[in-house]
């Protein structure tokens, strides 16, 4: 039938040529390199800046060895790694991060879900949540320490307060910005109450929710570092404790190395969120094909 053939022809014309026939291994190598070189460049820039700082002789007294060069710093870091000290510190800190962040996600999702469902709460609690996201988490420490003492709980409390509002906000924004046309289509289809949430509003708000999770992680990590510097718990070795020790011993070289570790962990976790975000946007066709 003529219409049928014309339609099929038009379809294949509009879909354009097939993807390039590049072999799997080559494609993997190209993508791997594309993902790696910016990170190598970033590392080189950081170490280069350190080297310049070292050469600038900032304190005007290079003889006192206030700061070592990057090679010395990395050697120092390696030393701590071998002695197990660094790994133990990272372990404690990451455990707190994991527990704190998990709690934040639970709290953020519950609060976000309730607030987005109940309009009167939306106005009242919504503005409190926005207020909380702008509150520097370090300002919570006096409150937390008086309440919990110098304990893990005080740190976790501040981590949750720092990051849960962002997560709740991401969820609420996602629900708010569900495209009205899709809502209309969903209702015409007969999606009601729970099904409407399950099949339309939740998936529609996923990108915004992931953005909230990502921002929540950044806030959790910052709050945790502030917490470990302010709340020193006897007998527990964490990145904060290492950094504090360096401050007391005026060991600038070691302080910079620990800071690089903190930076690295933050960047790696953030990278995971970015990957998830890109995967979602790619599936939905929200990425420029030139990048994807």
């Amino acid at each position: 039938m003529a219409t049928d053939q014309a339609l099929h022809g038009l379809d294949s014309l509009e879909l354009g040529p097939l993807a390039s026939q590049e072999s799997g291994a080559r494609r993997l190598a190209r993508r791997g390199w594309a993902a790696t070189w910016p990170k190598l460049l970033a590392a080189a820039l950081v170490l280069g800046a350190w080297q310049l700082f070292y050469l600038s002789n900032f304190h005007g007294d290079s003889a006192s060895h206030l700061v070592g060069d990057p090679a010395q710093g990395m050697g120092n870091l390696w030393d701590q790694l071998v002695r197990g000290q660094l790994l133990a510190a990272i372990g404690t800190t990451m455990e707190r991060a994991l527990v704190g962040y998990t709690l934040s996600v639970v709290v953020g999702v519950i609060v976000g879900a309730i607030v987005s469902r109940i309009p009167p709460l939306r106005a009242a609690i919504g503005s409190i949540i926005t207020g909380l996201t702008t509150m520097p988490s370090i300002a919570w420490f006096p409150f937390a320490i008086i309440l919990f003492g110098l304990t893990d709980s005080a740190i976790l409390f501040v981590v949750v307060l720092g990051s849960a509002p962002s997560i709740a906000n991401g969820l609420i924004a996602g629900v708010d910005y569900t495209p009205p046309l899709l809502l209309r289509a969903g209702k015409m289809m007969g999606l009601r109450s729970f099904a409407l949430y399950r099949y339309l509003i939740m998936p529609a708000s996923l990108p915004s929710f992931v953005a909230g999770l990502k921002q929540g992680w950044a806030f959790a990590w910052r709050s945790l570092m502030a917490g470990e510097l302010v709340v020193q718990i006897a007998g527990s070795l964490s990145l904060g404790v290492l950094l504090n020790g360096d401050q007391e011993q005026l060991d600038l070289t070691s302080a910079i190395s620990v800071m690089i570790v903190i930076l690295l962990i933050g960047v790696v976790v953030d990278g995971l969120f970015t990957k998830v975000d890109l995967a979602i946007r790619n599936r939905r066709g929200l990425l420029d094909p030139a990048i994807a």
């Binding site: 038009l10 379809d11 046309l181 289509a185 289809m189 099949y199 599936r283 066709g285």
Partner: protein, 247 residues
């Protein structure tokens, strides 16, 4: 009995500057299986009228009835869910109607075949062309087992060639399923090409100002003489109506 019946329907909206009368005393009756095109300039309340028939909105005065028939709605945008494949989009409409799982798969395949998209079920909406997406939307509307299909400028955003082919397709599908269609458009040729009857609405407020039956004389084309003649009459009526609003 009519498939869609509007009796003395008026619809007013409250706006910042007072009340806006979108539809004024519109009476309209569509027979089962009839294809009726609604045409009018901007502000004729076409979309309002469809919303009333779909039951998304209530009239200020008058009655709207579909005799308990299922109503499906299609928009100018396909409004597909971007996180689902084409097949899943169609299947969701079946799921919303509580069609059992085993049956859903077969019916989804059948519906995609109906709109000539067999084999594209695994593609996501953004991987399809505009015309293909609109066909998925049609399959989804058909999945609602609607007897009455309301179409709000469904081909308005497509290029002329694609639109022309989709006219043939829509005609075939409507004949196969004896669908009653209320089709809103800005395009006089499209209205004359598709409709069994074309209804012209005035603007601000929307009133019925003309009705033009288009008798079936064998297969129609967008460029056939009958279509051109009726399109010309429609254009004249619309221009006259638009002129009334100029100063």
């Amino acid at each position: 009995m009519a498939a869609v019946e509007l009796t003395g329907v008026s619809k007013a909206y409250r706006t910042g500057r007072g009340e806006l009368l979108a539809l004024d005393d519109v009476s309209l009756s569509v027979r089962p299986g009839e294809f009726v095109c609604l045409i009018g300039a901007s502000g004729c309340g076409k979309s309002t009228l469809l919303n009333l028939v779909a039951g998304v909105d209530r009239p200020t005065a008058g009655r709207v009835g579909t005799g308990g028939r299922r109503v499906g709605l299609m928009f100018q945008e396909p409004a597909l869910f971007p996180w689902l494949t084409a097949g899943r989009n169609v299947e969701l409409a079946l799921r919303a109607r509580k069609v059992p799982r085993q049956e859903r798969r077969a019916r989804t395949a059948g519906l995609l075949d109906t709109v000539r998209l067999a084999g594209f079920g695994d593609k996501r909406p953004h991987e399809l062309s505009g015309g293909m997406r609109q066909r998925v939307a049609l399959a989804r509307a058909l999945a609602q087992d609607a007897d009455v299909l309301l179409m709000d400028e469904p081909f308005g955003a497509l290029d002329a060639m694609t639109r022309d082919l989709l006219h043939d397709e829509l005609e075939r599908i409507c004949a196969e399923r004896t669908l009653t269609v209320l089709f809103v458009t800005h395009n006089v040729r499209e209205a004359a090409r598709l409709g069994d009857r074309v209804i012209v609405l005035s603007s601000r407020p929307g009133r019925v100002i003309g009705e033009y039956p288009v008798p079936r004389q064998g297969p129609r084309r967008i460029d056939s003489a009958q279509v051109a003649r009726i399109a010309a009459t429609l254009t004249d009526t619309l221009r006259e109506e638009m002129g009334r609003h100029g100063h």
